[in-house]
Amino acid sequence: MIRNLARTYFREALYAIPAVLFMAFLFAMPLLGVLSQSLQRNSGGGPSLEAWTKVFTTPLFLKVAIATLEISIGATLCSLLLAYPVAYFLAKQPPRRRVLYMILVLIPFWTSSLVKSFSLMVLLGHSGIINELLATVGIGPVKMLFNRFGVMVGMSHYLIPFMVFPILTSLQNQPPELGRAAAIMGAGKLRIFTRVTFPLSLPGVMAGALLVFVLSLGFYIIPALLGGRKDMMFANLVDFYTREVLNWPVASAVAVLLALAAAAAATLLSKVQSGSSIYSEEAR
């Protein structure tokens, strides 16, 4: 019995070998390269903690880290607030129409973020379409560009699909009988949502939030184009040290920190996802 199980386990593991090799050569090894690069002296010649000392003693890195976290958390919250209703609506649709709507959700992916940023400028600008409309009602102009608001709009626009799908999956996994049972027991629609549907969708929410958060950490072009002077991201520093001052140890150290933050979030993500699978087995 145990032997059989071990054999199945082994056979299943075999299938993973190509993926493991792929990741080992094209992800893990370069990542180790980046790590070792961060421990080199920039002028060449031998290992050194010079890059890490610089990263931890220069106030700029801490300030940019805080801005990066603020922006990432903000973008995650905005995407969540906007994506949940979409996912909820999609879950209620008959399968065929749902597929059509899901394609609509994915459409923003077909445009590059550079093009999107420039078109958002046309929309949100000082004499942009929205402000012109507001002016006809006698409001404005409202400053929506080159500040945190612009960054949030641009980033959420890009990130919403990543939030919709995990939430949608967890909403669809909910057995419909639960809602019906609650209704039979006399719960109103709002109560069913707050006591049954929403709590059960939390694993999807967490998964989506972490996914979006990790993606936000690496954002770069959108904050540079739509943000103000304080909207600076860690990735901009990587670029600056890689291409402009050619201090690759410092660029690597910053990249390692970013990777660590993403890895920490991903670990949380895997915890949440295994939690969600336990719940769905229980429910069935």
């Binding site: 940019v64 000082h126 540079a224 001052v245």
Partner: protein, 349 residues
């Protein structure tokens, strides 16, 4: 020296056909030796001008095919040279990179026996790179609003009381530091060595009037076009292009920041001689005149300037104007990291 041959459609077709017939030869490495140059350039509309005035005529004159790729990048140069796997024989460079890149040993020394630079302006001469042209950056402004109250010099730009309006500067310290000093009243000839403290004090004064710290060159004109800013630091080429598409935008020639379009040969290129011959070709007087006519970058040869089309000449930066500042990348060596860090911290507070 070859004079200009007007390009007819037929000659282009013939050229392409000849290229196609010849192409298989370049696959064989033996033949490829010295017969093919890879040039990395900045792209854009200027590429077509270079193809027409530099690359194709060079092939015609020497039989050396020119293959191009875009996106010069110091990091990529470093990787190619360090791994002894040089793909780009020649690359164009931002003037700010040249001293650092030369010190790092990423460039071949310019062979003065092949490249004749007797008529070259001193600012465009470097032991490791050839400066073909001079480009200019300056104040761009809208011509359809503000009713003529326009900042034309950097002191105007800093005088936000007399000339109100939203400003746009670059989100990097290079150029911005020099501009701040000129805004504070320093004359162009006194900018270097830069008084860093004075520059940051000047930046403090204008901080709240800068509505946008520009990340990409094309933003500088589009901000004015879309009424997001009134005065921005923009490149003349971009302003001219916008004017040609009827955007109401102007450009001040009173106080410009001048830079050099450099090219150099990567250290360890297998086609060093051919590369040097190409660099020499970029210093040819007639080539420079024709390129200036097409791109509005000023020739770096003093004897080429008077030959440029008079209609274009009004767009060329005036190298002799004492109000204009040639940026000095040498001053920046070893300072970019420290000052940019300070600048970014300053932006965040």
């Amino acid at each position: 020296m070859p004079t200009s041959v007007p390009l007819s459609r037929r000659s282009i077709v013939l050229g392409i056909a000849a290229g196609a017939v010849a192409a298989p030869a370049y696959i064989r490495p033996g033949w490829a030796q010295g017969k093919r140059l890879v040039i990395c350039h900045f792209g854009g509309i200027e590429y077509f001008a270079k193809r027409q005035v530099l690359y194709d005529p060079f092939t015609k004159a020497t039989g050396i095919e020119i293959v191009t790729t875009t996106g010069p990048d110091v990091a990529k140069m470093k990787v190619q040279v360090e791994h002894k796997d040089v793909e780009w024989d020649i690359t164009e460079m931002n003037d700010a990179w040249v001293p650092t890149v030369a010190r790092m040993g990423l460039l071949e020394r310019v062979d003065e026996n092949i490249v004749d630079r007797t008529n070259c302006i001193p600012q465009a001469k470097n032991d490791f790179a050839v400066g073909r042209a001079v480009y200019s950056g300056g104040i761009a402004f809208p011509t359809d609003r503000l009713s003529g109250r326009v900042a034309k010099t950097w002191t105007d730009f800093w005088d936000t009381k007399r000339i109100p309006g939203r400003r746009g500067l670059r989100n990097r310290i290079t150029d911005t530091l020099e501009i701040a000093l000129m805004g504070d009243g320093v004359t162009a000839s006194k900018v270097y060595p830069c008084d860093v403290e004075r520059a940051f004090k000047a930046l403090d004064q204008i901080k709240e009037d800068v509505s946008q710290w520009i990340a990409q060159s094309q933003q500088a004109v589009s901000l004015i076009q879309r009424d997001e800013a009134d005065f921005t630091f923009a490149y003349a080429t971009r302003v001219k292009k916008s004017q040609e598409s009827n955007v109401p935008i102007g450009y001040s020639f009173q106080q410009n920041i001048l830079g050099i379009n450099y090219s150099g040969a990567l250290k360890g290129t297998r086609n060093r001689d051919a590369a040097m011959r190409f660099l020499a070709f970029t210093m040819d007087r007639d080539r420079q005149v024709q390129l200036a006519n097409l791109t509005i970058d000023a020739p770096s040869r003093t004897d080429a300037l008077p030959l440029v089309d008079p209609r274009v000449r009004k767009w060329l930066p005036d190298i002799g104007n004492p109000g204009n500042l040639f940026t000095n990348p040498e001053w920046w060596v070893g300072r970019v990291d420290e000052l940019n860090t300070r600048f970014k911290e300053w932006l965040l507070t």
